[in-house]
Symmetry: C2
Subunit: 285 residues, 2 copies
Amino acid sequence: MTVTMKGSEVAAAMKERLQREVAELRAQGVAPKAAIVRVGARPDDLAYERGAMKRLESVGIACQVFEFPETIGQKEFEAGFKAVNDDPEIHGILLFRPLPRHLDEEAVKRMIDPLKDIDSMSAPNIAKIFSGDETGYAPCTAEAVVHVLDHYGIEVQGRRVTVIGRSMVVGKPLTMLLIKRNATVTVCHTRTKDLPATCRSAEILVAAAGKAKMVTGDFVSDGAVVIDVGINVDDDGKLCGDVDYDAVAAKASHITPVPGGVGAVTSSVLADHVVRAARYLQGNA
Amino acid sequence: MTVTMKGSEVAAAMKERLQREVAELRAQGVAPKAAIVRVGARPDDLAYERGAMKRLESVGIACQVFEFPETIGQKEFEAGFKAVNDDPEIHGILLFRPLPRHLDEEAVKRMIDPLKDIDSMSAPNIAKIFSGDETGYAPCTAEAVVHVLDHYGIEVQGRRVTVIGRSMVVGKPLTMLLIKRNATVTVCHTRTKDLPATCRSAEILVAAAGKAKMVTGDFVSDGAVVIDVGINVDDDGKLCGDVDYDAVAAKASHITPVPGGVGAVTSSVLADHVVRAARYLQGNA
């Protein structure tokens, strides 16, 4: 029987833990709070904002949105961002990117307090993920994969994990998280020769290539664990992952669906980062 | 016939190129210059310093040593370091680490201009290596491996490369350099199950484990390329690598010796970084 690893179950377990942790912090006089910084009002950003706020507030994290006009100048924006960054009551900052073209995003990345950088945009934070420093915040999607594996009791230590994709939001940081947990990790990508064979040798296969249904049955060994990070639209206009679900589910021991898999966990990871940030910034870590 | 890949040959070719590039910079009025910053006078540091200066000066790079007393305070050291960092005539800085215990190394890492950070100690530089930004300077030993492969005409694109070791000075940054060049990279370490079998599937095997002669013949497929990054002392007190040379050379198509392999290239990489730094800082890149 193939186990379908549901993001909603992972998120529910995380919610329970986070509610408890937030209550503990509040009992110590710390009220975890996130700032959402947005320039303009793109519909995509607004949709994500609603979802993230709902998730954060559901565990007791306060959220404040700082909206700046799309026409704001660099100096004004930096001043506004600095005020948020310096506010001792704010523990984590989510900045919607990309910024409008006339703004210099790099300058803002250099400004943000690495301990408030819950969405992993600053160099010190990225360097921490690379070096295995656990005070770093990995990109939420990469870390969501680890939470799914943990929740379903899948051991990674010593196991052969193959990651398809080498992006800075999933493939590379996930590789670092898995190496830190003592997995033997192979990184594949578009230039990999004989990709199906390389993937077949994996005990755990993570697809983060961004290509609809590219992982077919011949990529997977019997009993492998398959995690699908892709979010694509198929020829019929339906949401689908990087994995050809039915063909792969017939072979895998565990598999995540799309939608309803890894994607359902990312905003829980964001909430987890705010709680960790509140601890670090209060010296309670 | 197995090809012995000699570090001296790689260094000689790099020297010729670097001499030409330094001459071009000088013709434009730029005199590439490196600063060596040393606190105290550990014999190891002094030995490395002599070797590095000789190599840098041999290609026309000026070197200046800034020696600080072992008892210097944090404030005084930071002031001294800042003067070096701010000096527009200095393009690259090599700081001997670790600093004496009473000094805060992290503060200095935060100070250094990433474009002068030729020995890869600052977070912005580390983040660049992770993200594949080519203005980053990788740790010299990791990059030396790539120079050896290039010099001997070994294609990495699309090939299966296995790296044994996950340190921040070799394994991890080398993995990133190889992924950037489109290799399919597997990272192994002490917790990897059935390490010999995992290594046997590699077309290119890099040993950076720091364990004398651990890579035996059964780790290597016929015709594989083997790079030995280890520098160890064997039971007879002789310098040796991570690779059991004779047994592996009998199978490999190409192999680096120890001594005389990768280690002989590292200070050439340092020189290359100074030349690149001089270009970046003059806007000539």
